[in-house]
Subunit: 167 residues, 12 copies
Amino acid sequence: MAMESVANSVQLPPLDNPNERAAVGEELQLMLQDLIDLSLVGKQLHWSVFGASARGVHLFLDELVEEWSELADVVAERAVTLGFVPDGQSSAVAAGSRVEPVVVRSLADHVVVWELGRRVAAVAERIRARLGSIGGADLVTQDVLIRVVGTLEKQQWLLRVQLGEKA
Amino acid sequence: MAMESVANSVQLPPLDNPNERAAVGEELQLMLQDLIDLSLVGKQLHWSVFGASARGVHLFLDELVEEWSELADVVAERAVTLGFVPDGQSSAVAAGSRVEPVVVRSLADHVVVWELGRRVAAVAERIRARLGSIGGADLVTQDVLIRVVGTLEKQQWLLRVQLGEKA
Amino acid sequence: MAMESVANSVQLPPLDNPNERAAVGEELQLMLQDLIDLSLVGKQLHWSVFGASARGVHLFLDELVEEWSELADVVAERAVTLGFVPDGQSSAVAAGSRVEPVVVRSLADHVVVWELGRRVAAVAERIRARLGSIGGADLVTQDVLIRVVGTLEKQQWLLRVQLGEKA
Amino acid sequence: MAMESVANSVQLPPLDNPNERAAVGEELQLMLQDLIDLSLVGKQLHWSVFGASARGVHLFLDELVEEWSELADVVAERAVTLGFVPDGQSSAVAAGSRVEPVVVRSLADHVVVWELGRRVAAVAERIRARLGSIGGADLVTQDVLIRVVGTLEKQQWLLRVQLGEKA
Amino acid sequence: MAMESVANSVQLPPLDNPNERAAVGEELQLMLQDLIDLSLVGKQLHWSVFGASARGVHLFLDELVEEWSELADVVAERAVTLGFVPDGQSSAVAAGSRVEPVVVRSLADHVVVWELGRRVAAVAERIRARLGSIGGADLVTQDVLIRVVGTLEKQQWLLRVQLGEKA
Amino acid sequence: MAMESVANSVQLPPLDNPNERAAVGEELQLMLQDLIDLSLVGKQLHWSVFGASARGVHLFLDELVEEWSELADVVAERAVTLGFVPDGQSSAVAAGSRVEPVVVRSLADHVVVWELGRRVAAVAERIRARLGSIGGADLVTQDVLIRVVGTLEKQQWLLRVQLGEKA
Amino acid sequence: MAMESVANSVQLPPLDNPNERAAVGEELQLMLQDLIDLSLVGKQLHWSVFGASARGVHLFLDELVEEWSELADVVAERAVTLGFVPDGQSSAVAAGSRVEPVVVRSLADHVVVWELGRRVAAVAERIRARLGSIGGADLVTQDVLIRVVGTLEKQQWLLRVQLGEKA
Amino acid sequence: MAMESVANSVQLPPLDNPNERAAVGEELQLMLQDLIDLSLVGKQLHWSVFGASARGVHLFLDELVEEWSELADVVAERAVTLGFVPDGQSSAVAAGSRVEPVVVRSLADHVVVWELGRRVAAVAERIRARLGSIGGADLVTQDVLIRVVGTLEKQQWLLRVQLGEKA
Amino acid sequence: MAMESVANSVQLPPLDNPNERAAVGEELQLMLQDLIDLSLVGKQLHWSVFGASARGVHLFLDELVEEWSELADVVAERAVTLGFVPDGQSSAVAAGSRVEPVVVRSLADHVVVWELGRRVAAVAERIRARLGSIGGADLVTQDVLIRVVGTLEKQQWLLRVQLGEKA
Amino acid sequence: MAMESVANSVQLPPLDNPNERAAVGEELQLMLQDLIDLSLVGKQLHWSVFGASARGVHLFLDELVEEWSELADVVAERAVTLGFVPDGQSSAVAAGSRVEPVVVRSLADHVVVWELGRRVAAVAERIRARLGSIGGADLVTQDVLIRVVGTLEKQQWLLRVQLGEKA
Amino acid sequence: MAMESVANSVQLPPLDNPNERAAVGEELQLMLQDLIDLSLVGKQLHWSVFGASARGVHLFLDELVEEWSELADVVAERAVTLGFVPDGQSSAVAAGSRVEPVVVRSLADHVVVWELGRRVAAVAERIRARLGSIGGADLVTQDVLIRVVGTLEKQQWLLRVQLGEKA
Amino acid sequence: MAMESVANSVQLPPLDNPNERAAVGEELQLMLQDLIDLSLVGKQLHWSVFGASARGVHLFLDELVEEWSELADVVAERAVTLGFVPDGQSSAVAAGSRVEPVVVRSLADHVVVWELGRRVAAVAERIRARLGSIGGADLVTQDVLIRVVGTLEKQQWLLRVQLGEKA
């Protein structure tokens, strides 16, 4: 949350639009909180899922959680690289994330896929909406976010097709 | 948070003291929330640390976070095995965890070690205090928690010795 | 089935209650036969399963069979370590195991999960019931069995949740 | 499609019935085209499948495609070893393969399994019908084809059992 | 070939220019067909090559085929992610691909490299020509295609230099 | 034990002599039971062996058991592929296997090798005696059994030479 | 040998019976010295063994030495975790270990196994005798020692059976 | 340094602005020389570093050198792909690189980090300044350089934070 | 060279035509000597090759030598399994092998390929000529030899195509 | 300590100066004891180190201990190869080693490095002083010791530079 | 270039002839510069090679460059171990290396091999000429350089034979 | 057997005593033939061994054969590096090797070890006797041979101790 003096000794990357450095940092912080929250919701569903496809979904969720944790790390490290320390702790995530919590009980496999699919789509869409303006400030950060969006949209497809018979 | 009907079709493990099933579940939920919170605080410090030892601490934090995530998974899966679905989402963790948040800014390496050491010791101590009574209800759960405490106390030592010159 | 002279040259482990050495050996033999029988039933179902989830169940069964074979080995080696040679051959398993056989024909995936779940739960419950008294004779054997029970109960959960929609 | 002069410098394998060299080459070419076509149809279904079992089928298809590509390579290399260059390009496959194309749209998981099962069975049956006469000309080529048929028939079983509830 | 209802339950990625969704899908389908065709031509040459450098070219072709298959998968999955099911079967590839077939007979190593180099260059050039307009519709798809073009152009260099003495 | 309707939806492999399908299935079942029994006897000896060569024999037995389990799986899966579900459970193995049990006590290393060698030779000989007639019905099944016999006969040699000084 | 100030900055684990902290540390030190001494004796025998089974014993000794070194490390790190620095240097081991040295010359394989078996049994028995009282002070340390005893007793069995013909 | 005839036989990639082909090649050559020089300076510091953090810095330098060598290779291969052979030999690097040499003697760890941090920042900044204009000529080359800049800026952060206490 | 008493304790495999046991052993011995000789000639050429393709041929020769050594081992072990100890020592190979030696001096790459190709073809042809009669005595040995012939003929193709420009 | 009869059956390596065989053996024994003692001191420091660099030193010590154990094994096996059984047990090491013990308490990281550096330098220097005379008796043993000295002197450098700021 | 005070705290290795310490350091510096320069020339040729063997040479060059980089590191670390910091930066290499640069343009494969072969031979010869005198000062450094010469001379052979047809 | 013109294009390594180049080549050829012969005798014994230790010896022989093949390759490549092509074919080995053949029949394990031990010792002794004079001509070749002798003498020890009870 602070643009600090750690960056004094060696200069920070000179963004195309240095005035937007703090703004980019704040955007990355929001994305980070969404990604951390996705990984916690994913783990929650990993423990809660039941139904004939439960085992497949249980294992798939661990792959997704792994991908979200890695993307979160990439986003946070880009923020720090730009001189902004984002907040990824539980209270900040609970306050700042735009990912809805799920109900705490056993959940049928198709419900799990449905609930998760909507949340992944929403996060992807929010980040996609910011690609253009961030590209104006910093092409390197934009490239990081294109990778994040591409990964989330592919997951969205993989979840979407599992809903076929229920839709 | 609910002792549900998922367990109807195949019976649940017959604890030595079945009346304490819900109580054990609630205890495991608290421990889960502490462990998830440790992993989020650890990641936060991974991004925030600076100082001559920053790189070593940065890498060590990833090992610790990995261990906490694995322990959290083991604890949560034991709870579900006993028929209790714990809540590990961000708002539940923010509300239920007893781990203090850290300040959001760049933090010197020795401060990072000090802050983390205190939190690990506190979590280990809280779980240790429950080993005896949980052993009375279920030896298998007790064995899981002995592993958790042993791991946390070893980390506590590895952190403690890094503070030597500052103490 | 025999407490033999192999142990003459180097003494056997001095149990807390040496009078119970043969009794512990016999208990371990029963558990061994149950575990071997589980692994044969599991393989049988691996070949017999059909239905929309057949492939997932087919692969999951190989993981379970692997775990049961390894647990059987650990239990048998603990018996021999205590000076008791258990019988794990087909006729002894057929006679001594308390695991029900399954019908020999193609079986629907949900039937497979249901039949297996009940058998795993029964074996886990029988071993759990002996944890206390064996702990009185030998803490090391108890520790082996706590691992066996913990593994079986986790499998019981993983099978139980796959029955959700059928229950 | 041509028995060429590449083989002049070092003689070709002396088949039991050298007069059938070209005939064996042509048969291998047909089998090659069927196997390549199976791999393209398999990839098509990998992208098109939807339904509750979509993820399992999606992953299973990649394993099958891998096996068909490897078998196709073995078959083609046996043909070239005998001095015959087979045609495995798209127009030759489109013209020569006896595998039916699938409709180009999203397909439900059970439809995917059904469509694939029929095609695998047909290819296996066609190759099996030629085992005897090819064995008369060349035992080594027969051995290659026995491996191909054995692999396809095992896949046929793995697909067949997934249709249980729909049949 | 169809923009279908699979996408109803969870919304599709909101392209910058949603009106161009079908157009982007059709372009990806053409690129997919070119890449599949390259992989079939590459395999054909793998079996047909002769000459002093035959072994090196034979092995290099397998690396190229592997890369084209992977790129084809990435392109097809991006199309499906956008809601468009492309056709990658043999008759569609034979009809839609713009890659010329090669003659079916043993081919000298330098001819193989020459024929392949021209085809790779042509495919790279066609995709490069579409980078700009696709970037206007969807930055994520553009990023996928930049990777495809970069890979093909590097292959083009690796092939080009092998022609040195013949040019 | 039953030729069932699982095979209705996609046809079974068309054996050279379809009338012998059930007969082949019954033969495979007998071989399966012998192989499973060998693996249980092998594990029994793994736990019972003593003598100066005990460690070498103990480790060698695990390799043999691994090979028998894999061969048993291959044989059973060939039976199911042909439409016949074999019985590999403990009571069926105890009843149907022609492998003699060993005495349940510590056994000297040379006795272990001798007892095992005789049993492996007997199983190999029984299967070898059926190679010809099964080849008449199905070349693919014959090929599976040639691999089984080849493996058992090699083991027979490896065991035989260890008896040298005792013979 | 000293309960020092390293533990000031972050508190030590609160044992069930904190008054026994030093006592537990001293016991762990004795066990550590026995385990280090076993590993040095084992290495000595690794270099000295001769006889028909020399190679097998030579290799087995390296596995045992590896296990003892790892157990020694676990025991020493538990001591330091509790705030006690144990002495594992050569003079302390020579003075404190209760493991008898072996004679320094070539030793026949069966003598090596016999000498080692007695020493392993003695160390296991001494640690087993302390399991109960240590469990009263600290369940986590007890769990470490149960693992040590279980490992040593299994080694004792593996050595014991190699003596069969000599006993 | 020369736009040569190697490219005659198969045409070069058609840049968006073909007139800038030589200009892009020259820019890539400068970047290549900077990256090679960074790797030589990094190795020099790997041998020269001393101080309490010397070992950590020594190892970190090898990771950085590895990354710079890989980036240099990617940049050089992109230049050759475009038809331009860059000069990466010692005299060209000594003449063309804009990276300052370091003094040749033992250097304290914090001095090493400081000297390296400044050089990495300078190289990153120079390449970043060219991203826009190169993107106008060739999107594929721009994508390569975005990866280079992103990697260098992340290293810049990792070095910057190690200077905390000295700044 | 001797049908010995090693086989007394456990009976030998009962060949279809036991009278041919010695004859089969002698044939396997000849094949073994050819394969060992190929591997020595291959190594010789590995050290002697020169020319523009020298490095590729040098590496390819090591792969071929590896394959011949493995085939030799399989052939020899089949002979011993049948009760016949073959002679694979240098004087027996020098006397019995039908592989011509090569001249001892540096040899041009195309000469190396040509010399080797002729020898591989000759060995393959000799073994192929015996497939039928050996199959009459023992299907398992025939299966081993089909694998040998298949491997040699594939190598023959890989060598043959490298001669293209010289033929 | 004894030049024994193990060497009777197959003669010992004929040293250049066979009269010095026992002398070489005794020298190797002293070096062995120094190396074992270094490994015990290294492990002791692994458990005792504290300070800001504690973790780096703790991990580095395990690498050094691993290297010393491997060098000790090489030295001891060379002695036995020459027919001399050296004594590497705790009392012999305590008596014969010239490595000073360290004080048993927590030790600051820079003290650990300093204490270790001096001991490594002393051992290296003692062995270096014997290189010439041992080379006169046996070039193979000299080669082993050159490797030992080279490894120790490199460690000496790696330790020396970590002392920079304290020196 | 400086014999510095880093060596004060722990003494340097006592060379046989300590007066030659600086001289040995200077010699190692020259060898280091030659080896670094070889690796830069090798990389240059890796990018520049064309011709029918271009791919093989391109890949071989990466293996050579890897070996030269590793040898350079070994040589530099030996210098620092002896207390001399060598200069391996671009300007020092450009000034001190005796390796001739190559012309900067596409180079035919046989020219590349020829140019490289001469340079490798020259470096090997220069180092070989110093083996004797360095052995007089320090056997450990001599051993390092014997390894360097052995590696370079083997490369010289591998390059030499590729020139056969052109010579 | 010939000092040829392959070495014209790039000069050969300048030995200390160039007049001895051919002599060194001839010596290396003799050593090569001994090592190849050892590997053939070792393989022969691998197939012939029987007795209680047969399996251990059978496996150990494969390790030895692997080591001899690798040493033979190193020796031959050193000869070629010096410009001398040695003869390693079966007739040259049969004629030139000084290794005695073994009798062709089943051989008891202790006989195998005895026969092999004598042959290894003889080869080691012959090479050791040449170390000095070869060192006078070429230190690099001497270093290769010191490695060969060291390896053979270690094997000699490992074989010698297995004879203990028989000696």
